[in-house]
């Protein structure tokens, strides 16, 4: 009986961690989008999540219904994503140096400072239209909030993937990912395609903010650790892996919760980090990534 209770507690941890891990996967998906198009990622992606959450909060504070507030946050997120690409990434990639890493960090730093001054340093609750109660599946309780996070992440990723595969614009972006020069020869403006990827990535980040916000509360530092976790998910899954990052996101969320439970909350992130370093050493292209063939 004792064993059974402990097992149930662990399963509970794994399930709620895994459902939150879907949020990591969603932010990681944003990394994947920009990496595919322009071989760069936003080290300030967590700050976009935070800014998206604050925008959503302000809009619903103005009396807009939840869904309108979320849509508004997504529009702002897209604009911010485009802004980061334009100011921090484009020039550095043209000069072929690593300056973009620093510039995205710097733009994120400015974002945090702006948020502190516009919305204040305190954490704020994010009101939601669904009940606080939870559902019970075979003794494991799942809150509505966790279900919304998982369903929302999965839903938006599916929508973007469908758009990438079945619209002309999406196919053009894929062509740019495969070979920028060849795409340009075919009349595709690769700059616009890259900008678009960054805007969509920013939109996904802002959406992530509005679904994580109700769980973590909204504050300028809410996303400080998120960039690293999401980036871990993206790289361990492979930066070109598509839905592989859902599995890795689930696994990371579950591992964190369980290790926090077994080792103490300070050690929460340690096993995930060790797995990350070992995983990268064994499979640099990621668990689900394609092997790179060197051509000379």
């Amino acid at each position: 009986m004792q064993i059974n209770v402990e097992f149930l507690a662990l399963a509970q941890m794994a399930v709620s961690g895994g459902l939150m891990g879907m949020a990591y996967a969603l932010v990681a998906y944003g990394f994947q989008l920009t990496h595919a198009a322009g071989k760069a990622v936003n080290f300030g992606q967590g700050e976009l999540v935070m800014l998206g959450a604050f925008t959503g909060l302000s809009l619903s504070g103005c009396g807009l219904p939840y869904w309108a507030a979320v849509s508004g946050a997504m529009v702002v997120g897209a604009a911010l994503g485009w802004f980061v690409e334009r100011t921090a990434v484009r020039l550095a990639l043209q000069q072929q140096n690593e300056g973009w890493v620093l510039l995205t960090i710097i733009v994120g730093l400015f974002g945090v400072s702006a948020a502190e001054n516009i919305w204040g340093r305190e954490d704020k609750p994010f009101p939601v239209p669904w009940p606080e109660s939870s559902l019970d599946f075979f003794g494991i309780s799942v809150t509505w909030q966790e279900l919304v996070v998982a369903a929302g992440a999965l839903g938006i990723m599916t929508l973007i993937e469908l758009a990438k595969r079945y619209t002309m614009v999406g196919i053009a972006v894929q062509a740019v990912s495969a070979d920028q020069d060849a795409a340009e020869v075919c009349g595709i403006r690769s700059r616009s395609a890259i900008s678009l990827s960054w805007a969509v990535s920013g939109m996904a980040a802002a959406f992530a903010g509005t679904i994580i916000g109700p769980v973590t509360t909204v504050g300028p530092t809410m996303a400080a650790a998120l960039t690293l976790k999401a980036f871990s998910v993206a790289v361990v899954a492979g930066l070109d892996s598509g839905f592989g990052l859902l599995l890795v996101g689930l696994a990371l969320g579950a591992t964190e919760n369980i290790s926090g439970f077994l080792l103490g909350s300070g050690w929460r992130e340690a096993p995930g980090l060790i797995m990350l370093i070992v995983g990268l050493a064994l499979r640099p292209q990621g668990l689900f990534g394609k092997k790179i063939i060197r051509k000379v």
Binding site: I105, I106, F110, L273, A281, V296
Partner: protein, 634 residues
């Protein structure tokens, strides 16, 4: 523009004079700028100097974003603190700090340095996060978040006050600076420079990519440990929170701000990140700095507007950022709250406006004003005729296979190259010639079959192992070391011999007049010849030339034929992939023909030319009946 004055001085001498003057000035500074606070700040600058010189080895020289330096700094600090706690003397405590950073650093470097770009950045970031967790949680050793207090030990029973400790830090910075400079000027430094441009070429030419990367990272980690030890003794108090993400971003910015790949840059960056946050607490000075920065940045867009063109992003963005900062400083009531944002704008302007940092901008200015005297070149020695004679079978392939997915790129190839023989390898595009060379040189792992180079069997899929057996190659798509000069490109490939021998190889390929020209400025044809010289300088037992004449002009091709003939006369066996029929016909003893991954013919140029299978491969089956075969490549 004016041409600059020639002072008859070497750049090295000028640099050394300037540096010595600055260090004497810094050592004398405590006499003018007194107080505990000032000394503490100056010591912090010296400590950051050591730390940033270390960080620059990865961020600058290796060209990889390293986010672990703050954590290695922390490990060094804790190592020293614990050693002092156990009663160690000052040198021993510093050694403990170095070891505490060096060992985990090396353990991280081995897996992490196989990675590139974002993956490398991420693994160092994970290491950093993990280190802070361990320092926080292992309370029995580190006292957790509460922190550790220590007392600075005396040096050989001389007690150190703040000023003398500052002098010690300054002396160590000077030593580290000199050592780093020598290290990166040596062959080791050339190798680091080379592998940043082409890790494939550095492995194929036996320079050893991973080995050099790990050593460079280890050097950076050791400096982080040393800096950490000094930091502990400076503040006499440690807390894990001080070594987190904020410090790491600050260090990275320090290196970029100062200028990468330069000890001067690391030093200037250290001065900025040590002084700036403290100076910024003075409101008047802060406003003055931001206004001054704004004036500096608007010069370029205004100059662009005066010459009637719209300023580009690189010119306009810093000015916009600084204008925004000025607006915040003068028109926002709660400036204190915005300090982080203003700092970000400031950094943005610097990173975009000065991509080579302060040191880069200063060096460029200095070079515009003063023409330095270059070091004289040594006379050439050695050359092709000094090559070692090879004996026995140079290359033996048996049943070699390689496929990519469903595509059989090389299928069951069996081939031999004898003593001093030149074998031509021809075939239509996509027939598997380059893949075969990639297999022999160890870039690809064969799916089946064996490779024997000069009687040795290299480990499969290892460029270094194939090189050790005696293979050297050139690349169809050039793999030059753009950051090196022609002379340095040879020096870095030589296993033995010095500058005279390197000049000998340049003379052999006719590039002796361009010894000091950077590869990024050499013409395409020159780079092809330089690649051959590079391969020859490794003294190969088999030389593989992958389409050396591709893209060359007619006169260059004549030069190339002369060169290959002389290599042949020196007795070096050659595997030559080539499309130009005159080259193959003139140079090759035998010719092998590939098509669709298979070897379809092997014989003297004349035999192969008449082979119906070869004609079919090149011209299609309809043309077999044609008697005139002059279009054939040999």
């Amino acid at each position: 523009m004016f041409a600059g004055v020639s002072l008859g001085l070497r750049e090295n001498t000028v640099e050394r004079i300037l540096r010595t003057a600055i260090f004497i000035g810094l050592a004398a500074l405590p006499a003018l700028w007194q107080g505990q606070y000032a000394i503490g700040l100056l010591t912090l600058m010296a400590v950051y100097g050591v730390l940033l010189i270390g960080l620059d080895t990865t961020v600058g020289y290796l060209g990889q974003i390293n986010l672990a330096q703050a954590a290695l700094f922390a490990l060094g600090a804790y190592g020293t603190a614990l050693a002092i706690g156990a009663g160690a003397s000052l040198p021993l405590a510093l050694a403990a700090g170095i070891a505490a950073a060096l060992l985990p650093g090396a353990a991280l470097a081995l897996p992490a340095l196989r990675l590139e770009g974002p993956q490398f950045a991420l693994s160092t970031l994970s290491f950093a996060t993990l280190t802070i967790i361990v320092l926080n949680e292992c309370e029995s050793v580190t006292n957790g978040a509460l922190g550790l207090s220590i007392t600075r030990p005396s040096l050989f029973s001389i007690p150190l006050n703040a000023t003398s400790f500052y002098w010690l830090c300054l002396a160590l910075l000077f030593g580290v600076w000199e050592a780093s400079k020598m290290l990166f000027k040596s062959r080791f430094g050339l190798a680091i420079e080379a592998l940043r441009d082409s890790p494939t070429a550095t492995d194929a030419l036996g320079i050893g990519t991973l080995r050099h990367k790990v050593l460079a990272f280890a050097w950076g980690s050791a400096l982080a440990g040393l800096a950490g030890g000094l930091h502990t003794m400076n503040f006499e108090y440690l807390q894990p929170a001080a070594f987190g993400y904020d410090l790491m971003v600050m260090l990275l910015l320090g290196v970029v701000f100062g200028g990468r790949r330069s000890q001067w840059g690391a030093f200037l960056g250290a001065a900025v990140i040590a002084m700036l946050p403290n100076l910024l607490s003075n409101r008047t000075l802060f406003s003055f700095l931001v206004s001054f920065g704004c004036i500096l940045t608007v010069v370029r867009p205004i100059r662009a507007l005066l010459s009637h063109r719209v300023p580009v992003f690189r010119e306009a963005a810093p000015a916009i950022a600084m204008a925004l900062a000025v607006t915040l400083v003068f028109f926002v009531p709660n400036v204190e709250e915005w300090r982080k944002g203003i700092f970000a704008l400031f950094l943005f302007a610097v990173v975009v406006g000065l991509p080579n940092g302060i040191a880069g901008a200063l060096t460029a200015t200095l070079h515009r004003w003063i023409r330095f005297t270059p070091l004289p070149l040594k006379p050439a020695a050695g050359g092709i005729n000094s090559s070692r004679k090879s004996e026995g079978i140079a290359l033996r392939l048996f049943g070699l296979c390689k496929s990519f997915g469903g595509m059989r790129a090389v299928e069951n190839v069996t081939l031999e190259i004898g003593q001093g023989e030149t074998l031509g390898l021809i075939g239509p595009n996509g027939s598997g010639k380059t893949t075969l060379v990639n297999l022999i040189s160890g870039l690809y792992t064969p799916d089946g079959g064996t490779i024997e180079i000069a009687g040795k069997r290299p480990a499969s899929g290892s460029l270094m192992s194939a090189f050790s057996a005696g293979a050297a190659r050139t690349f169809q798509n050039l793999q030059p070391f753009f950051g090196l000069t022609a002379l340095e490109s040879i020096l870095v490939c030589q296993q033995e011999g010095g500058e005279s021998e390197a000049m000998g190889w340049l003379l052999a390929v006719g590039l002796e007049g361009k010894a000091r020209v950077r590869c990024s400025e050499l013409s395409y044809g020159d780079l092809r010849f330089l690649e051959i010289a590079r391969a020859l300088a490794t003294r190969p037992r088999i030389l593989m030339l992958d389409e050396p004449a591709a893209g060359m002009s007619k006169p260059d091709i004549v030069r190339l034929i002369d060169l290959i003939s002389s290599i042949k006369r020196a007795g070096i066996p050659i595997l030559l992939i080539e499309h130009h029929q005159d080259v193959v016909a003139e140079l090759c003893d035998r010719v092998a023909v590939m098509d669709g991954g298979r070897l379809i013919a092997l014989g003297t140029p004349n035999q192969v030319r008449r082979d119906p299978k070869v004609i079919e491969a090149y011209l299609g089956a309809d043309n077999i009946a044609r008697e005139n075969m002059e279009v054939l490549p040999c």
